[in-house]
Symmetry: C2
Subunit: 161 residues, 2 copies
DNA sequence: GTCCTGTTTCATTTTTTACTGAACAAACTG
DNA sequence: CAGTTTGTTCAGTAAAAAATGAAACAGGAC
């Protein structure tokens, strides 16, 4: 019933990606799934992930959903098999762009709303707003603009140097 | 005993920075502290932060420690006052560099170690390593190299466009 | 020295987040 | 069609992270 033990190589690779999830603030199980797929010589099925990683179906389902959402795993068609087979996307540019679009851009967008409200409050205060505060609000607008223009370029950046 | 209520402007600014902490994966209290300092017309003391934000001394102490660690707050000297006065650093380049150096670079450094172990394991396998796996390991080395060379440039990037 | 004042530390509690597993749905099979 | 396989959802639970507050500490002031 249980899948094969993980090899030392797989364990080490998974460990590396699990460490990366800390930095990125995504759940550990996502790192486990991506790590195993990354080292796999060929695409793996849902139940292989469950049995080899020994995590629940729920976690695998949620994890794959998230990974698909930002393009970090792809589904391969395998003739004669009804199950989906998953493989890791390994193009760095795609991964970075996917992450930015999935995790960062949405935040920037509702930052838009917050900034708007802040601007309204500031206008309401008129002279009640200290010059320092006015300057800070300008900084914020500038930061936000910076982030919004640079975010889409993050992937492309990897081409240049 | 309690500090003045937060103004609507302050609440909104704090809210914005608290939202940012989610994205960056740092504790909420750090966003509150930075947000309040950011909107403050002048530097604030430890106990002002405690009483106006109504969070514990422990949180303020830890939060300021972290913020100082990556250069997001500075301590101002105020003549005749024994207390430290804190102000927000608002130079975007400094903030970005500080964050990268504090949160990202350490991760990259111990990624170094993990990669080394992975390399050793791979060599031990010799022909037991599938060509796909060999390719993946090369990708990893490349990614890591990329990250290490680009990380220090992140701040400078903000000069250009 | 003792007494303040300002800050840090850390064991405990609270809150948040991620994981589990069983029930469910959809799609295929014979 | 009934039965099976494949994958999803979600309420409950477990684990991790953050906040609290009391105690300890540092360094002036007296």
């Amino acid at each position: 019933m249980a899948g094969a033990e993980l090899s030392a190589l797989e364990v080490e690779a998974i460990d590396l990606f699990v460490a990366a999830t800390r930095l990125l603030g995504v759940p550990r199980s996502i790192g486990e799934i991506y790590g195993l797929l990354f080292m796999a010589a060929e695409p793996m099925t849902f139940d292989q992930l469950v049995s080899r990683l020994r995590i629940s179906k729920g976690s695998v389902s949620q994890g794959l959903k998230a990974l698909r959402a930002f393009g970090a795993v792809r589904v391969s068609y395998v003739p004669g098999d009804r199950r989906d087979h998953y493989r890791a996307e390994t193009d760095l540019k795609s991964l970075v762009s996917g992450f930015i679009n999935g995790q960062v851009v949405p935040h920037l967008e509702n930052g838009q709303g917050r900034l708007g409200r802040l601007r309204v409050l500031a206008e309401g205060l008129g002279e009640g707003l200290a010059p320092e505060q006015r300057g800070r609000l300008e900084k914020l607008e500038y930061w936000h603009h910076r982030a919004r223009t640079l975010a889409p370029l993050a992937g492309k950046l990897l081409d240049l140097p």
